[in-house]
Amino acid sequence: MQSWRRKSLWLALSASWLLVLLRVFPLLRLAVPARPRAGAPQGWPHWLDIELLQSFSQPGELPEDDPQPPPAPRGGSCDWGACFDVSKCRGGGLKVFAYPVAGPISDTQRGILASIESSRFGSVSPEEACLLLLLSLEAPAGECSPLPQQWNGGRNHLVLGLHPNFCPQTFQLGQAMVAKASPTVDTFRPGFDVALPLLPEAHPWRGGAPGQLGQHSPHPGVPLLALAEERGGWRTAGTESSACPRDGHCEQDHGPEQTHPGATLPNATFCLIPAHQPDALHFLQALQAGCIPVLLSPRWELPFSEVIDWTKAAIVADERLPFQVLAALQKMPPTRVLALRQQTQFLWDAYFSSVEKVIHTTLEIIQDRIFGAPAHPSLLWNNPPGALLALPTFSTSPSDFPFYHLQRGSRPASRFSALIWVGAPGQPPLKLIQAVAGSQHCAQILVLWSSEKPPPSRWPKTAVPLTVLAGQRKASDRFFPHRALSTDAILSLDAQSSLTTSEVDFAFVVWQSFPERMVGFLTWSHFWDEARGGWGHTAEKANEFSMVLTSAAFYHRYYHTLFTHSLPKALRTLADEAPSCVDVLMNSLVAAVTKLPPIKVPYGKQRLEASPPLAPGGPDPQPPAQDCINQMAAEFGYMPLVSSRLRLDPVLFKDPVSVLRKKYRSLEKP
């Protein structure tokens, strides 16, 4: 009872105090004449005499600016317009001459030189090149290699340094562009220099490891954060934000944490990377692992920042607000996490996974600058398959490529061109022409006459225009981007192929759903041959396949451009020497671009046995140029082919329902 009374007393007392306070406070405010809020009205005032206000620039002032002479050349600093002579690149586009390296040459350097030489940028003489590339001013002993004779103040030179211990001459480089790893923000000249990634010593030269991401969304059990450690490893922390105090270093003893040695990749959703330069190495690791890099006020320029939109793959945050960053990461909507994760993988694979890609990206950026307006739009750099595989020489309009229809809200055109390759026997494929011309989607038929016999002067009358092109009797010629190929879709055919109109129609309708893939009738599959320690491929019927034969296949005409201009020279000559290799090459090329298998559609099997429409060489289970596939894998640096276990059939295919209901009836025939 006692306590009850005491409590009520206390309660009454505090309540009255509260009331007194509340009453007095406003009274006090009223009593004081100088009100604190009086000078600060709500919002910017609406002036009465607003109409009388004058414009900031009086009429006549803007246009009457005193004409000025061109500005004097600026000392020390350079930008693209001032320090690069584009006129040297007219005509041939970007041609690069790389100076031979004086003194001991490393494997990477040799590789870089070879790759530039064999690429479409390569040039043999410094006179015809518009960009001169000086490799390796990096000097372990602090000595720099002497400047070459054609130096000319560094004009049209690119000095390439993959490693940060760069020659201290950087500031005497004058008009030369500098491409180096993780340049500091202060010395970097945007739009002129190129920021490279900081590559580890043992970065693969070609091909490169694929991204580590096995699934799109983070696994539920995966920790939220991994922290880059100073000595090179990663430490993962749980989802508790309290684990990481303000300076970004997490407490040792908190929660389920694990320390990983330097070589392993982090397994977390976000990777926190502190500001200092050596941590650029962590950046690439995080990218490969599909761990979203969270960069705390980086003092270095992000790699290829000129073209890559890093906001799609990484988060650049202020190191002074670690709690805010952590809170934002925890609350980040799954949609954003999903998008960021996938973008890390795409960027890693498109531009960073090998030294060759890094070099080619650098040159591609410079080529874009030379092209000016008709260069890669940002969409092409920042969406799969990436700018190295979307050639601006083909088109600068994204809708012309097979990859961007979704982003652009467009569709591939609803017509195709049939390209019939007539090889050695030189028989005009009359039946085939009729069948193909019967398709409502066929726009034109092109006959690529590659036989020694002259083509017949008379061709059957068809509903669509028929053109005969003179071929060069080279197997690679069938994938040349002939000017006459005007439609998005190409139906590639051999003279021996046999197809029905129904089959053509259905395959084309399927292709329209998958314009970036190859859609074909006959398949091969590849396999790893343990016994011979190499790859092999077979035409045998199997439960899966990874290639469709180009003797009867739909694909986008862009692949002709890619085949001719992007495939390494060595592979194209290989195709000419072993004609059955073209199928392997074309399929590998498309698979390397799309990372997806081709698509198979049904094919009347009775003709399969009757006339195998294979490339010259026949349906040999061990085609002659078996080594083609191994050479291809070596040139690509990995095996790009992807297997599929499905076939796309018409919806009612062989269903127990009246044939009259079916749209593609002739596919039903046994």
Partner: protein
């Protein structure tokens, strides 16, 4: 084997039970506090509102009557601008602090008139544009009138045009602002920097660490990532009415309309005109205009007079040449006319270049290439030019059109730097609305075939058909890639069977009990789902073979961003009724798969539960129908892709089929389903479903090949 997880059981009561006496205390205390609060409210707002209305004294609201501040001659000057400033060195983010809305707070100093010792004003008090700019900020979400909570400060000292102010005194005026602190977090807007004779490219007023939103930066004065490059506003934007003109070829290929062009450059332009008389037009000032004609609005070529800016709409490309200053108001006029600007101003930092992709809307040509400009432009493909014209007009509409647009874009850029995880994307800044509407950004865009080892989680929605449920569980458990089975028990009136009664299977089986019998429970993103692939299956789908399910999973792996299902359906446009119709007959096309048996990515569960547009989710729960159609709409809408139907058609026990006993029942069902499609199409504002003519079968399906060598022999059996 069978762990039961209960969702939504009643949590512990918020207030623990207590004795009645104590409760009285609490109630008294509570009511006293409440009374107090009410009292405060009354005292605070009532008299205050009277006060503030007296503040809105109309007489006081004239620019001429703002308080006058006298600056002593020796008052401190700020340092000159610090060129090494970056956000992380010169900007105080702590002022912005934690902000759940990810929006910076901007404070505007009140307007004052500054005079020097002898009473001579330092500058014009405020220009029309700067007043518009401050009004725009004040009306925006960024504004705060609480100086202590602000993260960015905007002085009301007008420095838009350097020529209208006295540099030293303006700097002194800045330095005496109450929160100046070396200019930290202060934002100055300037469009016309520099003055004769050397025309600096940035405002000459010493400003220490203050951010500068400047028109006409060069790369040498622009602090990348710190300053903001803004357009020079063209007053013609408001004065002249210029209707939009669509893209396409125009009368002149190249036009130069600027008046103050350096003689050397004018020579080059005249040479171009002489060479391509038909397609190049070089205009100049009119010399013989009669009085009264606004000469700003006229341009001449010899004796021919052209209306400006209308003449810009006659050209495909328009030269925007550097004058004494790099930033030119003509750029705004040119963009507005849908003319592609050819920017010839070396080292000019284009407006908002931090976020805008100028490659899409302009051509930048080095000054020394002026004479080659015609050839350079000729190399640009037609389609790209049209795209650029469209883009130019869109940039004007979004970021140049008014002072307000300029001010808000500037603040948005600074906001994006401070809250980078909430920043606008490249597409949001650069894509014109038409592209934004028609484009689809697939949330699962990475071409990735998930490893087979991951397997899938089967989710069986059940109510009380235990026997059939057990059969489904037994059948599904035979599928090799199954990694977990989740039973969603949707019956609140009945407990699930005892643990011991459930079939013994080789994978973990979990029963989730729901709080309400809702169809959307089947699409809830349960924590128990650990795999990416989800198989939604009804408790009566017993006719699918293990081969068919395993094959379905393999197909999903090749199309992880799609719905991969068994029974397919179609939507059709009914021309007579002018609305959509649901079709379940044997058709040659499919546009939906039923989720009575379908594989999909678990991300779509998240979307269905939290991001379903409009009221669809509740509508479906209320009607107890069409959750599968809703899912088809959702997936097709975000991915822009069609479904994949797998394996041949077989007789399914499905809603349509169970009701088949009475034909009328069946028809009601079809009508309801058609209604759903129409309802969803109106909520989505479009018909996202895609029609295809294919389905997926195993490679060797129905091929002449030994059955025992086929991977999936048991497909399509009835």
């Amino acid at each position: 084997m069978c762990a039961s997880v209960k969702y939504n059981i009643r949590g512990p009561a918020l207030i623990p039970r207590m004795k009645t006496k104590h409760r009285i205390y609490y109630i008294t205390l509570f009511s006293v506090v409440l009374l107090g609060l009410i009292a405060t409210g009354v005292f605070q707002f009532w008299p205050h509102s009277i006060e503030s209305s007296s503040d809105w004294n109309v007489e006081k609201r004239s620019v001429r009557d703002v308080p006058v501040v006298r600056l002593p001659a020796g008052s401190p000057l700020p340092e000159r601008g610090d060129l090494s400033c970056r956000m992380h060195t010169c900007f105080d983010v702590y002022r912005c602090g934690f902000n759940p809305k990810n929006k910076i707070k901007v404070y505007i100093y009140s307007l004052k008139k500054y005079v020097d010792d002898s009473g001579v004003p330092v500058s014009n008090t405020i220009s029309r544009e700067y007043n518009d700019l401050l009004t725009a900020i004040s009306d925006s979400d960024y504004y705060t009138d609480d100086i202590s909570r602000a993260c960015l400060f905007v002085p009301s000292i007008d420095v838009l045009n350097q020529n209208t102010l006295r540099i030293k005194e303006t700097a002194q005026a800045l330095a005496q602002l109450s929160r100046w602190d070396r200019g930290t977090n202060h934002l100055l807007f300037n469009m016309l920097p520099g003055g004769p004779p050397d025309y600096n490219t940035a405002l000459d007023v010493p400003r220490d660490r203050a951010l500068l939103a400047g028109g006409g930066f060069s790369t040498w004065t622009y602090r990348q990532g710190y300053d903001v490059s803004i357009p020079v506003y063209s007053p013609l934007s408001a004065e002249v009415d210029l209707p939009e003109k669509g893209p396409g070829p125009r009368r002149y290929f190249l036009l130069s309309s600027q008046m103050a062009v350096h003689p050397e450059y004018r020579e080059d332009l005249e040479a171009l005109q002489a060479k391509h008389a038909e397609s190049v037009l070089v205009l100049d000032k009119c010399t013989n205009l009669s009085e009264g004609v606004p000469w700003v609005r006229r341009r001449c070529r010899e004796h021919q007079v052209y209306e400006y800016p209308q003449v810009l709409q006659e050209a495909t490309f328009c030269v925007v040449l550097r004058g004494a200053r790099l930033g030119q108001a003509a750029l705004s006029d040119v963009l507005r006319a849908g003319c592609v600007p050819v920017i010839i101003a070396d080292s000019y930092v284009l407006p908002f270049s931090e976020v805008l992709d100028w490659k899409r809307a302009s051509v930048v040509v080095p000054e020394e290439k002026l004479s080659d400009v015609y050839g350079i432009l000729q190399g640009i493909p037609r389609r790209q030019i049209e795209e650029m014209q469209r883009q130019a007009r869109w940039f004007w509409e979004a970021y140049f059109q008014s002072i307000k647009a300029i001010a808000l874009a500037t603040l948005q850029i600074i906001n994006d730097r401070i809250y980078p995880y909430a920043a606008l994307s490249y597409e949001e800044w650069n894509d014109p609305p038409t592209v934004k509407w028609s484009s689809v950004s697939n949330p699962l865009f990475l071409p990735l075939i998930p490893p087979q080892s991951q397997g899938f989680t089967a989710i069986v929605l059940t109510y009380d058909r235990v026997e059939s449920l057990f059969r489904v569980i037994t059948e599904v458990s035979k599928v090799p890639s199954l990694s977990k089975l989740l039973v969603v028990w949707n019956n609140q009136n009945k407990n699930p069977p005892e643990d011991s009664l459930w079939p013994k299977i080789r994978v973990p089986l979990k029963v989730v009990r729901t709080a309400e019998n809702k169809l959307s429970n089947r699409f809830f993103p349960y924590d128990e789902i650990e795999t990416e692939a989800v198989l939604a299956i009804d408790d009566d789908i017993i006719m699918l073979t293990s081969d068919e399910l395993q094959f379905g999973y393999e197909v999903w792996r090749e199309f992880p961003d799609r719905l991969v299902g068994y029974p397919g359906r179609l939507h059709l446009w009914d021309h007579e009724m002018s609305k959509w119709k649901y079709e379940s007959e044997w058709t040659n096309e499919v546009s939906m798969v039923l989720t009575g048996a379908a594989f999909y990515h678990k991300y779509f569960n998240y979307l269905y539960t939290y991001k379903m547009p409009g009221d669809i989710k509740n509508w479906v729960d209320a009607h107890m129908n069409c959750e599968d159609i809703a899912m088809n709409f959702l997936v097709a809408n975000v991915t822009g892709k069609a479904v994949i139907k797998v394996t041949p058609r077989k007789k399914f026990k499905c809603p349509e089929c169970t009701a088949i006993d009475g034909l009328s029942l069946d028809q009601t069902h079809m009508v309801e389903r058609s209604e759903c499609i129409n309802k969803f199409a109106s909520v989505f504002g479009t018909m996202p479903l895609k029609v295809v003519e294919h389905r997926a079968d195993p490679v060797l399906y129905k091929d002449d090949f030994p059955e025992k060598l086929k991977s999936f022999p048991n497909i399509g059996s009835l």
